[in-house]
Symmetry: C2
Subunit: 418 residues, 2 copies
């Protein structure tokens, strides 16, 4: 494989995670090892920044700043929910790449982003422009196919498991047989996040909260839920429920949906917790129902990130650079779990086309027969992902997050209307 000399461009897209910047740090750190990489640029605001030629010079940032990048929960150079649709958008991307001699493109994101990366890669091939495109997985939803798990997932479930265990202490103190507490968590189409909250249970304490986990994979059945809540209230004096935002009934209708959809056509959800509260308050009039909806707090909670997750996100960034330099393209980095009982994780590669827009559901056989709790197979899968705590620098009582200087790269092209 001939050495490809040129510049690196890193983009991020979609909702941030606690560890999204750790992958950027991994890419920048690894790029320093390879002489064929000349400049390291970042796109401001994901593909939108590429279209508008808004690039920043990541190589000019100090090493301290790159090191500190492991922790800030946003996308340090911005992201976007803009979706490349038109042919002229894709052609503009290539135009920008050529203008800045981008030969390595690393795109950190979920399903939609991997799809975008795949299309950019294919167009470059058609145009005979030598470009190596490697996707880096990133999504708290953990719903990318092929990879064992996704950077971002371990941290969100560590945060939620911690919060549920804390709420359990609170509720044990308050519960008088009538307290029903609902935590509405993210998860539009897969219950990975809701399931992860089950890590709040102590070993050999199956009756610990969360008492009921309501998953999008299990059609919502009002009568069964009420029965479950009554049973738990009787046994535990309070009932803590973790509910995914994307709960659906047997006909596939969302329990709570807004008429609006986002740029990708996904339904805008919210309110499953409140809808559930109303059902319980009506069905069990003595119940006092409280709803917590951490919303964006959960995906941003870097102070409670999983060290394993941060390390793997960094590793995925490094692996992307190594793969590209070695000649790979049109692939996504995957996380591959070792076969032994002792958890190990290394990276692999999968064709972008295999990942794009596929959704990995929570395996049905990891859900207990009661359909509201997870079995040992899920625990064996998820527990290693939340191990280890990070130590953030604090200043005057609040964590300090890295901010990049964002030195702009000079524009050379005429402006483009996105």
């Amino acid at each position: 494989m001939a050495e490809l000399v040129g510049n690196v461009l890193v983009g991020q897209s979609g909702g941030p995670t606690s560890v999204i910047n750790a992958s950027v740090a991994g890419i920048v750190a690894e790029a320093l090892n390879h002489e064929c990489v000349e400049e390291v640029y970042g796109a401001l605001n994901g593909v939108l920044g590429i279209l508008q030629e808004d690039l920043v010079d990541l190589a000019s940032e100090s090493q301290q700043q790159i090191r500190a990048l492991r922790h800030p929960p946003g996308a340090a150079r911005g992201t976007c929910r803009y979706k490349l649709k038109k042919q002229q958008d894709f052609e503009r991307v290539l135009e920008v790449f050529k203008a800045h001699n981008i030969r390595y493109f690393f795109y950190i994101g979920g399903n939609d982003s991997q799809d975008t990366a795949d299309k950019i890669s294919k167009l470059a091939g058609q145009q005979g422009y030598e470009l190596r495109v490697i996707g880096v997985p990133k999504t708290i939803d953990n719903d990318l196919s092929v990879t064992d798990h996704c950077p971002g997932y371990g941290s969100v479930i560590k945060y939620l498991a911690t919060s549920v265990r804390e709420m359990a202490c609170d509720h044990e103190a308050m519960g008088q047989g009538d307290l029903v507490s609902i935590v509405e968590v993210m998860g539009r189409s897969a219950g990975w996040i809701a399931a992860g909250a089950s890590l709040a249970k102590r070993r050999d304490h199956p009756h610990d909260p969360p008492h009921l986990i309501l998953l999008p994979e299990v059609p919502f059945n009002q009568e069964k839920i009420l029965e479950d809540v009554r049973r738990v209230l009787k046994r535990e004096k309070f009932c803590l429920i973790v509910a995914a935002e994307g709960l659906v009934d047997a006909d596939g209708n969302y329990l709570a949906a807004d008429a609006a959809t986002d740029a990708f056509g996904h339904a805008k959800l919210g309110g499953a917790g409140d809808a559930l509260a109303e059902i319980i308050e009506t069905g069990i009039p003595t119940a006092k129902v409280r709803v917590a909806r951490p919303g964006i707090m959960q995906r941003a909670a870097a102070h409670s990130a999983s060290k394993t997750d941060v390390d793997e996100a960094f590793m995925a960034g490094q692996a992307a650079v190594r793969a590209a330099v070695a000649g790979e393209t049109d692939k996504m980095i995957t996380l591959v779990r070792g076969e032994t009982d002792h958890y190990t994780c290394e990276t692999g590669l999968a064709p972008l086309g295999e990942i794009a827009n596929g959704i990995k559901k929570l395996p049905r056989e990891w859900i207990n027969e009661d359909s509201v709790s997870m079995n040992f197979q899920f625990l064996r899968y998820a527990q290693p992902l939340i191990q280890g705590e990070v130590t953030l620098p604090y200043d005057t009582g609040v964590p300090v997050f890295a901010r990049l200087d964002k030195v702009r790269v000079e524009k050379t092209l005429p402006a483009f209307e996105a």
Copy 2:
């Protein structure tokens, strides 16, 4: 003052905080120093446990367990929202005290609890039963009069300031001029908690989130809010709002209230964030509004507790025992701030009658003229309260909290119907 020999009883009431058990630990630890204290009991579930003679033997717990008690976020022996009303309830309390030779009663709680403690103390006086009653302040609401601040408050605002700063990183990445993010926080009648979120701002960055703080002290004005949001969106590309649950309009009507009231006659609130979202979505149709409502997560977030708060809660417990042994009664421990610029805090005493049912409002002169941000006087007040982080023990990725053995004290009285 003659030495009073007898047993100690510790009760907790109302909503838990991250540091409620630190005060219990302080009481138990200090009690060991005084020979006049024979047994140390805890009441299960607050006054309800006293009425029902459900007492546990705290002195039989190991010292490791008492030490670990500094951290669990619930009330380790349960609390309640039961309100003593009838004369026969109060008489029953005294009956139980006499049956178990309780001579020292420490009651950890907010306004209502201090009121209860006051009444118990007065009844004991009337009956000529020698009893020393000391209240220990505890409320995330920070609305007790006389004391400079309340144990529990520092931790909840440290958690919220951290979360807002994290969300700011997330939103800076996502903001395209249309993102409005609302965090609904606790605070029924005083804006202390919402105001505390302003600690998320970096020094000399007044435009950092939270951009707008909506307080119950400031009557809600729809037109002004919309104008404020528009201004911030233009300047910052996103707008992060922290809104207290108890927002009221100029006529004193809650922005969002449920018809229900709790046992103390307080309105049951919830949904101010969603109500605000609707107002903004209607007034600014291009806005994409997201609501986070951490709910009980915020008062239970022991993993993000303020070390200053934990230490002061412990100190308040110790001080209660010392005061009672020295002959004080019918008083509440207060936290007294030193006069110097360098923050110091010691304990004082105030008559229970002065505290009961008084509410300390956020001083109007600490709110900026824009009525949506806090000035340096508030920062000077609040910043010391969130300093220092706690290190919790973690097991398999989740914090471990102490659990007491709860060895029951034998009942000697006939049962009582509460």
